[in-house]
Amino acid sequence: MSARFKQTIRLLLAATFSVAIGPLAHAASFKVVVNNGVHAESLSKKSVSDLLMKKTAKWDGGEAVVPVDQIEASAVRSDFSRAVHGKPTAAVKSYWNQQIFSGRELPPVEKPSDADVIAFVRSTPGAIGYVSESASTEGVRVVAVQ
């Protein structure tokens, strides 16, 4: 096997690896926010994931959970999906497509910006969402994610 061929193979493997893990390299850069009526200070990643994926329907106090998502193209959604759901946005979207297609469940409403998410969470009892690290969170409660 020639050295040039080996080098080419190494380059291809490196490129494949970098493409595969590239999205994982982003640091988590989001804040989870809930409506002020929700009495939660911190939540585990799994709890947040279950709330956003509608696997948990009610808060401990009995109030209905109303999740809100960012639009598919947003960078914060990509970070959030990787960090909390442990899968890319496309996988989460595929999950919801399967749910819709099976006639079972609808995905959370999507908002185009941090400000829209904050406005929704502020005005909707039981709401939970997430925004960029730098977003203003006035009027909502920021929950620590463990």
Partner: protein
């Protein structure tokens, strides 16, 4: 219409013998009596089976009625239904956005289904891009996509194929889109072109019927009672549906009864005799949510048409005079159990397993004018069971889909000739080798991934093995052995270039095949005036296709459109052609080596066809104002046999639809729509005898048909629709040849009023 009464039959229920054996010649009376008893017992079981199905459905209906809290249903189309219209499953077996999929697709949603208010599936599909149909009879049509028809179109219900091993070109019943109850349809997915991971039958395209499921949102219980009336054939249909949710169980149960008279066509055609029929159908779907990620769905559907006549042979112009020529039974029953698990594992993010059972029956009952006391009843049944396993997994940016499909079929086929005055019968070979089996097993893999943010690649392959078994000893011909195995791979490669956020350029290359089925391999019957006989041919190869397509999709908030060009190269196409047996081109019953009168010429299915089919398909929807929608489509297909240069059979004419729709969000939500359906004249071989035959080059005239539709809600629970179809009373049809007296299509309805009502509770 003059109703023909059969001379002697103890019951009106169509006989449905499940032949356990057959004999070429008349059986001795004692022996036959035993066999006839078996046939009658089998027929009784069939009838009992139908009654049992009805009883089960009634029980389900009753259970559903009392299961949930009676919460009044909301009006309007459920939001889940609207959202699902943007999804398509039938491209790579994963629900994905119609804009993002790299194929030419159309999804007909529940709204449009209600607006079209079609009596049959072909009524609904005939206005869509790329889709035409040969309306052989009132209430049924053979589908054509990209110049390929029936057996080359994969028809599915909820992702489960219903093409069985007896699907044909266009000659009898199964492949004519008449086995689906339209009232159970939630939406219809159409994919044009070769679809590699779904099934090898999909050379021309896929039609996937998605059925209605449990209530949307939190509605505990609801339902609809509908009526539909069409003046051209005085048809009346009454679908009833009930749905609801009770805890983890959601359900949707319904049924439909219809009675259709003889169809009056436009122009000077008048009423077409022997075109009426009755139809009844039932469906049930129960879904159990095992958890937020897991569900189990059990569904059943049955549909039967009765009183269907082979009108082509009963009209005065027919070459052979018949006192009766009925098509009975026409029936499909299907049950599925589907398990879905969306929890993440190392090897899967989505697991879908579907098991299915499907039984299709068809037959013909004939009494000729020359022998009015002899009834010849031919019957075919295909029993199919199968399992599909689909697994989806995201790895990095790759969305991998892999799985297996397996199915097994067994057919029964026999002909019973009854002397009506004496009520004695002889059972002989049917159209096919009785007891033959057809097994298929396939594995598939599909990967979709982003190369860059501008380029997405989707590639898939499916390896399939098809095994036939069966043997028989036919007098004159001797032993025929159907044992064979065909194996091949289909593959697809698509590139999507995302030129802008809502602008995609697409290119694709496909390689496909379709293995010969039992209809192709084991047919034996005399044609028409008995001057020719078709004999089995077990040694055929699969039909093959290489296909290339390029397209563009563009979408904004007010506009959605797509245009595709395709180029198909077909080889080894199975065609019925003159052939020989033991070196002779005819059946030499006299043994003198020369064809005498009464010695039929031999035809056989052979891999002789080679064709090029090219075309374009374009469609758009444009909403310049909230109350106004303009939409339409255009299709042009050209195809020729590569050996002769003659037109390939059933190449579609140039055709299209242009429409304008007004909708209002006021209290009664009125809407109105004016549409034009256009088709050019087309020149084609009719394919009824041999494909490559200049003597069968025929011209089907073009047409323009205008339709005015409208509707409104009257109160919270009542919706009405009304249409005047074929406003100018045009005489029209697809593939209606002028010079042939038989085997041609029916004329479609003349000017008619179609009324529909839906009461929602």
């Amino acid at each position: 219409m003059p109703r023909i009464t059969r001379i002697s039959r103890p019951t009106d229920v169509p006989p449905s013998p499940a032949p356990l054996a057959y004999a070429w010649f008349a059986l001795p009376n004692r022996r036959f009596a035993k066999f006839d008893a078996a046939l009658n017992a089998a027929a009784a079981m069939e009838i009992t089976g139908l009654r049992l199905s009805t009883t089960i459905l009634c029980l389900l209906l009753a259970t559903a009625t009392f299961a949930g809290d009676a919460i009044p249903a909301t009006t309007g189309v459920p939001s889940k239904s609207k959202l699902s219209e943007r999804l398509i499953y039938s491209v790579d077996r994963t629900p994905e956005d119609t804009f993002e999929t790299p194929r030419a697709v159309t999804v007909i949603g529940r709204d449009d289904l209600l607006r079209k208010n079609g009596m049959t599936l072909s009524d609904i599909l005939m206005e869509e891009a790329g889709f035409t149909a040969i309306p052989e009879r009132n209430g049924e049509s053979t589908p054509i996509m990209r110049g390929l028809l029936a057996r080359h179109i994969l028809v599915m219900v909820d992702g489960v194929k219903i093409n069985d091993s007896l699907w044909r070109t266009n000659t009898v019943t199964r492949e004519q889109l008449n086995l689906i109850d339209v009232s159970q349809i939630e939406r219809i997915e159409i994919v044009r072109g070769v679809v590699s991971v779904l099934g090898t039958e999909a050379l021309g395209g896929v039609v996937n019927i998605i059925t209605r499921r449990g209530a949307d949102g939190s509605a505990g219980f609801g339902g609809t009672i509908g009526t539909r009336y069409g003046s051209a054939d005085h048809s009346v249909a009454m679908p009833i549906d009930v749905w609801g949710r009770n805890g983890a169980i959601s359900y949707h149960v319904g049924g439909m009864l219809s009675r259709v008279g003889d169809l009056e066509a436009g122009g000077n055609v008048g009423r077409q005799p022997y075109t009426g029929y009755d139809q009844r159908g039932a469906h049930a779907n129960v879904q159990l949510a095992l958890s937020s990620d897991k569900s189990l769905t059990v569904a059943y559907q049955a549909l039967e048409q009765r009183g269907v006549k082979f009108w082509q042979s009963l009209v005065p112009a027919a070459a052979v005079k018949y006192n009766d020529y009925s098509i009975e039974p026409v029936r499909m029953r299907m049950a599925t159990a589907a398990y879905q698990d969306l929890s993440s594992r190392v090897w899967a993010d989505a697991l879908n397993v579907s098991a299915y059972w499907n039984v299709q029956d068809d037959g013909t009952s004939r009494i000729t004018a020359a022998k009015p006391t002899i009834e010849e009843f031919s019957f075919n049944k295909d029993r199919m069971i199968g399992v599909n396993v689909e697994i989806g997994k995201f790895i990095g940016s790759h969305h991998l889909l892999y799985g297996i499909d397996v199915s097994a079929e067994k057919i029964a086929s026999a002909t019973r000739t009854t002397n009506l005055p004496t009520d004695t019968a002889v059972v002989t070979r049917g159209r096919y080798t009785n007891g033959a089996t057809y097994q298929s097993g396939s594995i598939f893999v599909n990967d979709k991934f982003n190369v860059t943010r501008f380029v997405t690649i989707a590639a898939g392959a499916r390896y399939g093995s098809f095994r036939t078994k069966g043997a028989e000893d036919i007098p004159i011909f001797g032993k025929i052995d159907l044992n064979s195995t065909k194996k091949d791979t289909t593959s697809a490669f698509n590139v999507t270039v995302h030129a802008a956020q809502r602008l995609n350029f697409i290119a694709g290359a496909f390689r496909g095949f379709r293995a010969p089925n039992l209809d192709d391999m084991s047919k034996y019957f005399l044609l028409g005036n008995r001057a020719t006989v078709e004999i089995p041919n077990p040694s055929m190869s699969p039909e093959r296709i290489k296909s290339y397509e390029a397209g563009v999709k563009y979408e904004t908030s007010s506009f959605a459109g797509s245009a595709f060009y395709f180029d198909n190269r077909l080889s080894d196409v199975i065609v019925r052609a003159p052939s020989t047996w033991n070196g002779l081109s005819f059946i030499d019953t006299s043994g003198d080596g020369k064809q005498q009168k009464g010695e039929p010429s031999i035809l056989q299915n052979r891999n002789l066809g080679r064709a090029i089919i090219r075309g374009i398909e374009a469609e758009f929807r444009y909403k310049p104002a909230p109350w106004l929608l303009l939409f339409g489509n255009y299709t042009k297909t050209e195809g020729s046999d590569r050996s002769t240069g003659l037109p390939f059979p059933y190449i579609q004419p140039r055709f299209g639809t242009a429409a304008v729709r007004y909708t209002s969000n006021t209290t009664h939500a009125p809407w109105a729509e004016l549409s034009l359906r256009y088709a050019s004249s087309s020149k084609s071989t009719d394919g009824s005898a041999t494909v490559i035959d200049v003597n069968h080059l025929e011209t089907s005239p073009g047409f323009s048909v205008y339709t005015l539709r409208g509707g409104a809600s009257l109160g919270e629970h009542f919706v009405v629709t009304a249409a005047i179809e074929n406003l100018m009373d045009t005489r029209y049809s697809y593939f209606r040849y002028q010079t042939l007296s038989s085997y041609t299509a029916i004329y479609l309805p003349g000017r008619q009023l179609v009324l529909g009502t839906t009461y929602r509770f």
